[in-house]
Amino acid sequence: MKDFGYTINPDRQINYDQNSKEPVYWLETMEPSVNICISCGGCTATCSARQFTDFNIRKVHTLMMRGETHSLKKEIKKCMLCGKCQTVCPRGVNLRNLILSIHKILEFNNL
């Protein structure tokens, strides 16, 4: 058959209904402060890894809360756990434990 080169793009939409609620459940259990984020972006602005990569810890948090876990394993590897984000967070979110917890949840659930 002739290949015309047409493809179907994968759906980029967050389908909250289909996404597993398990990762969020475990994240909220392991680090309850994830719920008080106000998405100000202070963490990302000061992030050492952000200066050299496209790592965005604010966005990683939001994606995790929506159950969008597919890209996160690769993403969180960029974090060097320096903890600067935590010192600027106006709500006192424990960001280092956020990263460590996401790591554990993804490993455990093989995501």
């Binding site: 939409q13 967050i14 719920n35 008080i36 998405s39 969008e68």
Partner: protein, 342 residues
């Protein structure tokens, strides 16, 4: 001779101003189009941020009202005229009232959510307004919100009829954000297994304790906030609703099914205000709310001597701030009379 004031509007602004004026020895008549005093507060359950019962506020206001205050309920103003600095008002029951000053306290109307057709209010079964939720909570602290199925997830939509040129309202109604937070907490209290998502553009927690209430909603009640304006809601055959928004903080479109949708309807100038303002000579702003002569220095005065404004007739305002404004208006009327006499 005793000075007299006619107050048009028997909501909380009119009631509080009347009580203050009566205590200053001024004769007061309130004209209210509904059959009872209290205005919108009659349909509210509890007030933010301390969750005081609105009935408590109403009882306080009623108790404060002196027996000397005369009240004309169930009637509207047909005509306003001004002669020698005094106001003459003809009601629709042909009754004539005379006053040395006139106070407009005609408040606001809630935005008609049917105008945002894409949200499905009045079309889909499980789309209700914030005011209707208050009604449910008022009648029944265990509301049977939805019929026939288990509720798992509720969406709350901010800015319905506010900050929206499509409906002609550029302004922010400013109180819906905190109402959303309050109602989200109340839903979680009553239905702890229900997920609550607030869809917002900005969260405007402008007054004391509001930000703390937002913090509490996140920390204690696990209410979720998604930054993005609802583009449309579609109804499934089982009457659940599919929401489509951009999750602007991830930059991705998001789709979510909810069992019910609560629309945070904004405040608009009340229906009769324009006509009354024209008859009395008060000016309206571009948003339709009435303009005092100076928003900083003369917030209760108008360009017409003896004509005063108070409460939400000048724009969205909370209960507490309305009462403070009503007291200020009463004082300004008193000073106006003192000046006239002196």
């Amino acid at each position: 001779m005793k000075q007299s004031v006619i107050i048009i509007g028997g909501g909380i602004a009119g009631m509080e101003a009347a009580a203050s004026l009566a205590r200053m020895g001024i004769e007061v008549t309130i004209v209210e189009k509904e059959n009872a005093l209290g205005g919108h507060l009659l349909q509210w359950d509890r007030l933010f941020p301390d969750r005081k019962r609105s009935d408590e506020v109403l009882e306080y206001l009623k108790k404060e009202m002196d027996s000397s205050i005369s009240v004309e309920t169930g009637c509207s103003v047909k005509e306003i005229s001004r002669e020698n600095g005094n106001f003459r008002i003809i009601l629709d029951n042909e009754k004539i009232l005379n006053g040395n000053a006139l106070l407009l306290a005609t408040g606001y109307d809630l935005f008609n959510a049917r105008k945002k057709e894409e949200y499905g209010y009045g079309i889909y079964e499980n789309v209700i307004t914030s005011a209707e939720l208050e009604g449910f909570l008022r009648k029944n602290p265990q509301p049977g919100l939805m019929k026939g199925f288990q509720v798992k997830r509720i969406g709350i939509i901010h800015c319905v009829g506010s900050r929206d040129e499509k409906v002609g309202n550029l302004y922010c109604s400013k109180l819906c954000c905190i109402t959303a937070v309050k109602q989200a907490i109340e839903i979680r209290e009553i239905l702890p297994d229900v997920e609550v998502f607030c869809f917002y553009m900005d969260l405007r927690m402008f007054d004391r304790h509001f930000e703390e209430m937002y913090y509490e909603a996140q920390k204690k009640w696990g209410v979720h906030f998604i930054r993005g304006r609802l583009s449309e809601a579609d109804e499934n055959p089982d009457h659940t609703l599919i929401l489509k928004v951009e999750d602007t903080l991830t930059g991705l479109p998001l789709k979510m099914t909810v069992d019910a949708l609560i629309l945070m309807v904004g405040m608009t100038p009340s229906a009769g205000t324009k006509k009354l303002a024209d008859m009395a000579g008060a000016l309206s702003g571009e948003d339709g709310f009435l303009m005092p002569s100076d928003e900083h220095l003369q917030p209760n005065e108008t360009t017409v001597p003896g004509l005063f404004l108070t409460g939400a007739v000048k724009g969205p305002v909370s209960v507490g701030n309305t009462l403070a404004d009503a007291r200020a208006a009463a004082l300004k009327i008193y000073e106006y009379f003192s000046r006239m006499a002196g």
